[in-house]
């Protein structure tokens, strides 16, 4: 059985630097077969964690991107009407002979309705992400991304799936999961998620990483960047985050910036360097000026 330390190492091999809490959460989710609800600001690696996990654990990734108005037809299953229609057309001759045995219309209808289950069988069931991950031949990773964008109804729909790992299809009955997937839900916190859903999950908050971890993340992704610059960069970004910007830079911005700096072969941060590349870390017009001002203040 996998241990916490192994989880951490696996993630590191996959290029994801996890701290103690993240590793523990993943370890527990694997052992307890419970979903993880990850909250945190955008760009700190919530989705990244799921992607990396799917690679390193070799669980096929099934991703469900939530949006306003998503429903069971998009998330669980749907009936393939077109295929049903096509089959009806193709089977017409067969049906004619089958129904010709019945004497009157009533008998024909009864006869046909006894075969109804033929058309509402798994043959015509389109598996949408959640059902697909339940019926996957090996244990999969179900990523339900940005759950906070969906509505309350959808959240309620998830309750059954996530606690019992089963889907109820009225025509077929309950379909249980063959292998319980490792479910990861992410949320940016734009809307409060209901307590009922929270109760079913382990709760993991990923905030901005600590200084050392962020430096390690940069160094892992961009080994060619020298240690001094990486530290200087991260230190600067930490101060930028305290500026009260409209969109504070997160880890993904750190990495973008590191990439830009390594392409430019930068050796050291100067106000000029910051001014030239500020668009990578600040994403609002009002923020740009604040960041450049801070650079002038600190580095001048």
């Amino acid at each position: 059985m996998i241990t916490e330390q192994q989880v951490k190492e696996l993630l590191r091999n996959g290029g994801y630097i996890a701290d103690e809490t993240i590793a523990t959460a993943v370890f527990l989710a694997l052992r307890m077969e419970k979903p993880i609800l990850i909250e945190g600001p955008p760009g700190v690696g919530k989705t990244g964690l799921a992607k990396t996990l799917s690679t390193v654990l070799d669980f096929p990734l099934v991703r469900l991107q939530c949006y306003e108005g998503i429903d069971e037809g998009k998330a669980l299953y749907d009936w393939e009407y077109g295929k049903q229609l096509l089959y009806t057309q193709l089977l017409r001759t067969q049906l004619d002979s089958y129904l010709s045995e019945s004497t009157d219309l009533r008998a024909a209808v009864e006869r046909l309705s006894s075969e109804e289950s033929l058309f509402f069988s798994r043959n015509f069931l389109v598996q949408r992400p959640i059902l697909r991950s339940f019926l996957s031949t090996k244990r999969s990773l179900l990523l339900i991304d940005e759950i906070d964008r969906s509505g309350d109804e959808f959240e309620a729909l998830l309750l059954e799936c996530l606690s019992d790992f089963q889907v109820s299809v009225p025509e077929l009955g309950v379909i249980g999961a063959e292998h319980k997937p490792l479910a990861i839900l992410t949320s940016n916190g734009t809307r409060m998620i209901s307590d009922a859903l929270r109760r079913r999950c382990l709760y993991l908050y990923i905030g901005y990483p600590e200084f050392d971890r962020e430096v390690t993340i940069v160094r892992t992704k961009f080994p060619e960047l020298c240690e001094g610059l990486a530290r200087q960069m991260v230190e600067f970004l930490r101060q930028v985050r305290e500026l009260n910007l409209r969109k504070p830079p997160s880890v993904s911005e750190t990495l973008d910036w590191a990439q830009v700096l390594s392409i430019l072969h930068t050796k050291q941060l100067t106000p000029a360097v910051v001014a030239n590349t500020v668009g990578v870390i600040a994403k609002h017009q009002a923020d740009l000026k604040q960041v450049t001002d801070l650079a002038l203040q600190i580095m001048a």
Binding site: T21, T24, L28, M32, Y81, R198, Y203, N244, P248
Partner: protein
């Protein structure tokens, strides 16, 4: 093991963190899996299973440190040195006060008569006895002829802030003026707002059913059924575009309404969480936008920040005129569509310029203007309160002091907004309203003197 967890969960619940029995079972299971290898790992395991909200995390850490610490002898968590110095300051402060009292008693008469007072003023003073106004002394003085508007507004007293006990306590115990929200309060508010939103959503749905949604969208139906040989097997129906009301909230955070500020901020925060298009501003003398902060910060932190005066200077007097002016100049043009504007405050302008033309301009731009005040209606006429003047520009002026009153008001507001957005569907409802409204308004704004309101209700647009 189970006993310890149960006791720990009880401690958490006492601190206001909501933990369900299922979660404590999870915690026990998690500990069994994860082992008890170290303090940090146990903390992580318990945190993952017991805490389901970011805002509860500090509380959890606190309880954890306290519960699993070796010395549990100092429950109040006060440094003895700090406590002693605070006590000394208090005693000193008492002495100061006593001294001041003695000197005053000796030198000054209790009542100081203004040398410049004229006979007319004295006559006015005599007249006061007969008036049935039971207001405070300072207010009566202001109401005397010729004084209104000329006298400088009283500044917030420095004495209280700088007195040794205050300073000692504010540093030693490190407590702000405003007590942070308890988790129960937050949960209550969340619940009320959720209930409210469910009700509103239902109404909106019913309304949508009445309009022409559900008609066949012919082009899209044909497109959709292309592969079935144009047999309309899958139907595509018309849907109305989803419209979310835009809301702008201006919230007064000055001393005069500080008792209501917490509650108002909580409302702002909750609204912000649940509705997409909200822009929030706070003001005292200056106006500041806090929309991004509300989105990113737990409400308690925000409260602390505001309380420290980091966003707007709290030592000034509130100045509604200035605020309306700067809101008009800086933000009004940037507002998209016709947002509903809610102003929360007591309308006490401290005898500054009223600038009601700015409010008029705001009202022109706004789809709906609602004023919420924490003060009772019968004290609106007193002192520097400009609510009568400002109120004449608003669609509604309401008193709101607790969550229930407020939820009712906001619900009303939403119905009004949707009413405005969908003109056809609610026509019959609106007609009913038209009949009763004018009458309603007159009684609403009739002042004590019996003067008619300064605006004509018939000219106003109906919302």
């Amino acid at each position: 093991m189970e006993r310890i967890i149960t006791r720990f969960v009880t401690a958490l619940r006492e601190r206001g963190v909501r933990v369900s029995p299922g979660e404590s079972l999870d915690a026990v299971q998690a500990l069994a899996f994860g082992g008890l290898s170290g303090r940090d790992s146990v903390r992580a395991l318990l945190k993952l299973t017991l805490v389901k909200n970011v805002n509860d995390m500090p509380a959890f850490d606190e309880v954890f440190d306290w519960f699993f610490s070796r010395s549990q002898c100092n429950p109040l968590d006060i440094d003895p040195g700090e406590f002693l110095s605070a006590m000394i300051h208090i005693v000193e402060g008492e002495q100061l006060k006593a001294e001041e009292y003695r000197t005053r008693e000796k030198d000054d008469p209790l009542l100081i008569v203004d040398e410049e007072a004229t006979a007319e003023d004295l006559e006015n003073l005599l007249g006061l006895e007969e008036s049935d106004d039971d207001g405070a002394g300072a207010e009566i003085m202001v109401q005397l002829d010729g004084f209104r508007g000329k006298m400088a507004a009283p500044e917030p007293s420095d004495y209280y802030l700088k007195s040794p006990p205050t300073v000692a306590f504010s540093q030693g115990a490190n407590k702000g003026r405003v007590v942070p929200f308890t988790p129960e309060e937050l949960a209550d508010m969340q619940e009320v707002v959720s209930r409210m939103l469910v009700r509103i959503r239902k109404d909106v749905q019913r309304m949508k059913e009445m309009e022409n949604r559900g008609k066949l969208h012919i082009i899209r139906t044909i497109q959709k059924n292309y592969r079935h040989g144009m047999v309309p097997f899958l139907l595509s129906l018309r849907r109305k575009r989803k419209e979310k009301p835009r809301l702008v909230v201006l919230c007064d955070v000055s001393y005069s309404v500080s008792h209501a500020t917490r509650f108002m901020l909580l409302l702002l925060h909750t609204l912000q969480n649940r509705l997409m298009h909200v822009r929030s501003f706070i003001f005292n003398k200056e106006l500041a936008e806090i929309t991004p902060m509300l989105r990113n910060m737990p409400v308690n932190c925000l409260l602390e920040t505001i309380d420290k005066g980091d966003i707007v200077n709290l030592d000034d007097n509130s100045d509604y005129g200035n605020v309306f002016k700067s809101f008009k100049e800086r933000h009004l043009e940037n507002m998209r569509g016709k947002p509903a504007i809610i102003i929360i405050g007591d309308g006490r302008n401290n005898y500054n310029e009223a600038n009601d033309w700015a409010l008029e301009a705001i009202r022109e731009k706004a789809g709906y203007l609602l004023w919420l005040t924490p003060e009772e209606r019968d004290i609106w006429q007193r002192g520097d309160c400009q609510l009568d003047l400002y109120g004449s520009y608003c669609d509604r002026v309401e008193t709101a002091r607790d969550v229930d009153e407020l939820s009712r008001l906001v619900e009303d507001l939403f119905h009004t907004l949707f009413d405005h957005n969908d003109t056809r569907a609610w026509q019959h409802r609106r007609q009913e309203r038209k009949v009763e409204e004018p009458q309603d308004y007159r009684t609403y704004y009739t002042r004590h003197s019996g003067a008619q309101p300064a605006f004509d209700p018939d000219v106003r647009r109906q919302w």
